[in-house]
Symmetry: C2
DNA sequence: TAAGCTACACATACAGCGTAAGTCTGTCAA
DNA sequence: TTGACAGACTTACGCTGTATGTGTAGCTTA
C-alpha cells in the first residue's frame, strides 16, 4: 500500500533555482515588473508561494538571479575586430537585451550583488578600451558616456514606446489630439512631434545607432590623448 | 456656545494639493521612493491616510504632481546665448534636479499625463535646436542623444553612488575587497576600478560634463546637414 | 436665527504583498 | 524497519492602496 506512491500518478518534476528564475523572467517579460510576485510566480510553477523559498533566499535573490541572466544574454565585445566595431556590437546587444526585458532597466546597475556575467562583461569592456589605447582616465570617461547613453536610451524606449505593437506615430498622433486645447502654447512640439515624427515614424534601432556612432566617433579622437 | 468653534483653540491649517505634494517630495527625497506611502505621507501632515483623497485623486495623481514639480525645477534653455551653451545649461540643470530627487528617474518619461512644465520644457528644447539651424530630422536625433545621455547618467549616478555621503572610492575599495576571491578573473576591473578610480576618486559633475561636451561637439558638425 | 448644504477628516474593511514560523509527507540510507 | 531529510504546504503578521460609509464644523440662504 505504501508503495503506491513509488509508481506515482504524478511524477512531480522537482523545482530548482533555474526553473524558478526562468519562470520569473517569463512572468516579468510578459506581465511587467509589478506582476512578478511570489504568489503569481508560484502559481505559474504549480506550487504555493512559500515553496519557492526552498530554492531561493527571498525575492531580492530572485532579482539578483534574473538580472544576472539578462547580463549573460549580452554579447561581450569581440577581441577579433577593431575597438569601435566591438563596442558598437556590444552596445547594440545591450539595447536588444534591455528591449527584450523592459523590467530590467533600473535594476541592472544598482544591485548590491554582482554576478559573474555582470563582472566579466564589465571587465571585457574595460579590457577592450585599454587594448585600444585609451588611457586609464579616458577609459573611465569612455565607459561612462557609452553606458549612460545605452541605459538612457533603453529607459526612454521603455517609457515612450507602447507596451503593445502599436507604432510610435500612432501614439504621437493620439497625444497630439489629447492636448489639442493647449497646443498653441507648444508650437515646436507640434511641428516636430505632431508633424515630422508622426508622419515619418520612428525606428528605435536606427535612432540608437545614430547617437551611438556620434559618441564612438567622438571617442576615437581621444584614443591616444592624456 | 456654538460660536466656540469660531474662536477655536486649534486653527487647523487646511490641507491642500500643494501641501500634500510638497510633503510627498520631502518624504521621497529623504526616505527613498518606497517610503512614500499614503499612510506615512498622512502622518507627516498630521492627518489620516484617507484624508489625502480629498485633495488628490489617488497615488498616481500624487506621482504625476511631484514629477511635474521636478520638471518645473529644470531651467529651460536660454534664448540669449548660443545653442550649445543653452543646451549645456539645461542638461546640467536636469542632472542636478535628478540628483536632488533620485526617486524621479524612471518616472519622468513614462507617465501618461504630461503637465505644462514638462511640455513647455520639451517645447523650449526643440525650439532651441530648430532655431540653431538643425533640420527636423537632426533635431529629433539631437534631442534623442542628449536626453538618453542625461537620463542614463542620472540613472547610473543614482544606482552607483552611495545613499549617504560616503565617497565613491570608499565604495569601490569595499567592493574590491568583497570580491577578492575571484578578482584574478577580472584584471581590467581591478586595474581601472580598484586602481585608478579608487585612488583618484570620482566627481559626477565633471564626469557628466565630459560626455555632454563630447555629444554637443559631435552635434555641432551636423547642425546644417540634411 | 434656523435649515440645509458642503467640505473634509476619520474609521472600517478588503484584497494583495513579502515572508517568518510551523507542519505534513514522500523518499532514501542505515 | 526506522530515522533523517528535502521540500511542499498552512497559517499568520504587518504592510500596501483604496472603496465605502460616518461624523462634524462652518457657510449660505430663507
Amino acid at each position: 500500500m505504501k508503495r503506491r506512491a513509488q509508481a506515482s500518478a504524478e511524477p512531480r518534476i522537482p523545482l530548482n533555482r533555474e526553473r524558478v528564475l526562468a519562470a520569473a523572467i517569463a512572468l516579468a517579460d510578459q506581465g511587467g515588473f509589478e506582476s512578478l510576485t511570489m504568489r503569481k510566480l508560484a502559481k505559474e510553477l504549480g506550487v504555493e508561494a512559500m515553496s519557492l523559498y526552498n530554492h531561493v533566499a527571498n525575492k531580492d535573490d530572485i532579482l539578483d538571479g534574473i538580472i544576472e541572466i539578462v547580463f549573460s544574454e549580452i554579447e561581450p565585445p569581440s577581441t577579433e575586430v577593431d575597438w569601435k566595431t566591438a563596442m558598437r556590437q556590444r552596445a547594440i546587444s545591450t539595447r536588444e537585451a534591455l528591449a527584450r526585458h523592459r523590467w530590467a532597466i533600473g535594476l541592472m546597475e544598482g544591485r548590491a550583488n554582482h554576478g559573474p556575467a555582470n563582472l566579466s562583461l564589465h571587465n571585457a569592456v574595460l579590457g577592450c578600451l585599454r587594448a585600444a589605447g585609451f588611457s586609464m582616465e579616458m577609459t573611465v570617461h569612455a565607459y561612462s558616456v557609452q553606458d549612460s547613453y545605452i541605459y538612457g536610451f533603453a529607459l526612454q524606449e521603455r517609457d515612450m514606446s507602447p507596451e503593445s505593437a502599436d507604432d510610435f506615430s500612432a501614439v504621437a498622433q493620439r497625444q497630439m489630439h489629447e492636448y489639442q486645447a493647449v497646443l498653441d502654447d507648444y508650437p515646436h512640439l507640434v511641428e516636430v512631434v505632431g508633424g515630422y515624427v508622426a508622419e515619418s515614424g520612428y525606428d528605435y534601432a536606427t535612432e540608437f545607432a545614430f547617437g551611438l556612432d556620434l559618441i564612438l566617433d567622438g571617442l576615437e579622437k581621444l584614443r591616444n590623448a592624456s
